[in-house]
Amino acid sequence: MNIQTAITMTTAETALVDAYTTQLGDLPGDGAVLSARDALLNALKTEGLPTRRIESWHYTDLRALLRSVPAFDSTAFAEGVDPLVEDSTVLRIINGKASVSGVPDGIHVRRYGDSLVDGVAAADLVERGSDDAIGRINGAFVRDGFEIEIPEDTELARPLELQLVQSAGQSHSRLPVTFGANSKAVVIERHLSTNDAPSLVSIVSDLIVDDGADITWIILQQQGASDNHLGQINFDLGADAKLKLFVINAGGKLVRQEVHGVTTGEDSDFQMRGINLLGGDSHTDVTFTLGHDVPNTTSIEVIRNVLFDRAKGVFQGQIRVAPDAQKTDARMACNTLLLSDDADFSAKPELEIFADDVQCGHGATVIDLNPTHLYYLQARGIPEGKARGMLVNAFVDEIVEELEDEALIEHLETIIAAWLDKHA
């Protein structure tokens, strides 16, 4: 619902509007880029941040949850870390500033800041819809990022790690990535924070996966306990293209990760696996929409959530099957382990089907650990605490093990185990 009358701005809304005024001179781009930014900020100003009255934000009332926004901090300093997998190609965005170095042959990379300066990026700075708060915030403030092109028939031998390190303040980045026909790559989008200072990070990735490409994209979000993270990944799948998307959330205070995709080529396949490790007072929302727009496409999404403490988790998943997109096969599952009485989890798995010759289904469960499983382990002399840990670990590791790269699996499992050790 659009709010027509002027709203009373919250602290966070005021901070965003003020930040825009103070940052305007520093934000790259003018002309068309500037008017696109103005339009997005204006929409934010007149409509405010979304509330639960906006259906897609029903469980994440951003207006109420985003209490404050840290100011831009031009003095903030941070250093990159080693890549997750040895020998990876690493591209870093540190406190919102991208640097291009060590790019192997065969990948074309350009700083997004340059595209903003020369104006070619102006066309990107649009909102997906009137509920696209992430698009608005990111578009108004975007400073840098990477434009990446993997040419057709190129296979990346090593993973490409896009490392976004934040120490304080705000950063807003974009990652437009084109995977040429029949290319093959593993990309790790990794978000880290180096300290406890609060920050606001927004990131919008636009993926074009051309015909026959086979791509694995991993989002690993490990920001700090006082950080706000607003992520959005959009993708378009060509014919015979395959995209495996892993979303792992193991950090942040207020996290919204949106995934929006369409299949525009026949016989394409989309796989999504999600692990949300939620503890403390965090609020984490994974919102997913997928449009099966052409016949003969398949998709499977499996989301596993583990909640401790006072954490709040949200999963919204919508599968749309367009009229005439016959032979679509789409499945979605969302399984949640709710391990604390103070935590809560809300799920809204949605199907919107306009074609008849399809197979679509979704399942959602919310449970505690199975007492018989626990008993089985305890009967074998494993203390309860450890037994619980093993079961929780097994619940999420299953997802990670679907990756192909052994080293990557091992590193992710270590991260998960460390998180669980700290929170369980």
């Binding site: 809300s346 799920a347 798995p349």
Partner: protein, 489 residues
């Protein structure tokens, strides 16, 4: 099966005009002027000889309603309703409460005969004794007759029209009316609170098992009227009642509005079983006419170990907006929702349920079967939630959709909200067409295709049909057949 050619052809030829209850009865009516105002509400209240508090209650609701906006979140699409272009009160003339059936307009009795509803007690008595059913018949704005009143009274059960109950049992009505669906609840419920004209009232006292099925038949007859009925059912400690409502309307070009409110209250150990066979006129094959069915139904399992079960077979109405819900307030209470929603032609259904777990050890079960054919849109929208203190809540939800033809849509929008680690929620939903394997199996055995599809559809909905009282299970099964005629036969 990529929808066999014949099926597609038949869907193209689909004819919802087969609606057999589409006749209109010429009966002299007593009507209030068109439109909605405080005067109209006073007029209705006056006609019903209501006490002052009831009028105030209505006026409060009306004033509240004026501040509300029509909800737009449902997946239904219709032109804006002009609430001032409706008659809010229409009653068969001379009906200030017949003493016996002999005083009822014979034309009216013929209507019910046509509908296949036996109102004459002697006829009922002549039938099999175990299938005795007490009927309350509501025609446009008023209840015309309630059968078996005396026999029920002997058991202590009060079954009468709500207008009568307001006059005869004001304390009971005052205590429970609006306690489940408050006047502030939502746009349509608030409107209903202001202008409701009749409906049924059931009170089953402590420890009584209602000796027969209770049933209400609603009929919209008059042109340009809206029907706003209000039903209130109370089952005291340890009581049991099974209640069924049926609805029909004449075939008209115009859209008519039906905004009912149903409130159920189950105290400790009580059980209420509420079944609906909704067959309002769905509109013609072009999507012209039909009833707008905007209904608020809610049951409150107020007592410990209470149980409320909703079963609905939705085949009619141009638009259905209906979410029979259970508030599981008492410890160990249980809510059930079984639904078959069949849409054809240009029908739009947005229906489902809410299970609100508040007490400890509560459980709920939802089984929803949607069948979409023609150009219809069929949406399941449901919510399952637990309160933070509601330990050991259990829910099982299954919603399956079947699509027949490529021009319709089936949608599932569940909201699952868990706030307690001991909650155990399971939800599954599927959407598919009729399985090729099943069809092939039947055809192999010489069953003609149409019959095979009917067989499979019946199998698809069987789980819900089984929940209906036997007499109505047969009716419901036939109704589904008729609704899908031309598409599955």
């Amino acid at each position: 099966m990529p929808a066999v050619q014949e099926t597609i052809d038949q869907v193209a030829l689909i004819d919802v005009d087969q609606y057999k209850y589409g006749f209109e009865t010429k009966i002299e009516m007593d009507k209030a002027p068109k439109g909605l105002s405080e005067e109209i509400i006073r007029f209705i209240s006056n006609k019903k000889q209501e006490p002052e508090w009831m009028l105030e209650w209505r006026l409060d609701a009306y004033r509240r309603w004026l501040t509300l906006e029509e909800p737009t979140w449902a997946r239904v699409d219709y032109p804006k309703i002009d609430f001032n272009d409706l008659y809010y009160y229409a009653a068969p003339k001379g009906q200030t409460g017949p003493k016996s059936l002999d005083e009822v307009d014979p034309e009216l009795l013929r209507v019910y005969e046509k509908l296949g509803i036996p109102l004459r007690e002697q006829e009922m008595l002549a039938g099999v004794k175990t299938s005795k059913i007490a009927v309350d018949a509501v025609f446009d704005s008023v209840s015309v007759v309630t059968t078996f009143k005396e026999e029920l009274k002997k058991a202590g059960v009060i079954f009468m029209s709500i207008s009568e109950a307001i006059r005869e049992y004001p304390d009971l009505v005052k205590k429970y009316l609006g306690s489940v669906v408050p006047t502030t609840d939502n746009f349509y419920a608030t409107l209903n609170s202001a202008v409701f004209t009749d409906g049924s009232f059931v009170f089953v006292p402590k420890g009584v098992r209602c000796p027969m099925e209770l049933s209400t038949y609603f009929r919209i007859n008059e042109k340009g009227t809206g029907q706003f009925e209000r039903t209130l059912i109370i089952a005291e400690e340890g009581a049991y009642v099974s209640y069924l409502e049926g609805c029909t309307a004449p075939q008209r070009d115009e859209n008519q509005l039906h905004a009912a409110v149903v409130e159920l209250v189950a105290l400790d150990d009580a059980e209420i079983k509420y079944s609906t066979v909704q067959n309002w006129y769905p509109g013609d094959k072009e999507g012209k006419g039909g009833i707008y069915n905007f209904v608020t139904k809610r049951g409150d399992c107020r007592g410990n170990r209470s149980k409320i079960s909703w079963t609905q077979v939705e085949t009619g109405s141009a638009i259905t907006w209906k979410y029979p819900s259970c508030i599981l307030r008492g410890d160990d209470s249980r809510g059930e929702f079984y639904s078959i929603a069949v849409s054809n032609g240009y029908q739009q259904i947005d229906s489902g349920t809410k299970m609100i777990h508040l007490g400890k050890n509560t459980s709920s079960r939802i089984v929803s079967k949607g069948i979409a054919a023609g150009f219809s849109q069929n949406t399941y929208r449901g919510q399952v939630s637990t309160h933070r203190k509601a330990s050991n809540a259990r829910n099982f939800t299954q919603c399956d959709s079947l699509l027949i033809g490529g021009k319709c849509g089936a949608h599932t929008v569940p909201y699952i909200e868990a706030k307690n680690s001991t909650a155990q929620f399971e939800h599954e939903a599927t959407t598919s067409k009729i399985s090729e394997d099943q069809l092939f199996y039947c055809l192999q055995r010489g069953i003609p295709e149409e019959a095979a599809i009917a067989l499979i559809v019946n199998g698809f909905v069987k789980e819900v049909i089984q929940e209906l009282p036997m007499e109505f299970a047969v009716e419901a099964q036939k109704l589904i057949g008729i609704s899908l005629e031309g598409s599955v036969g």
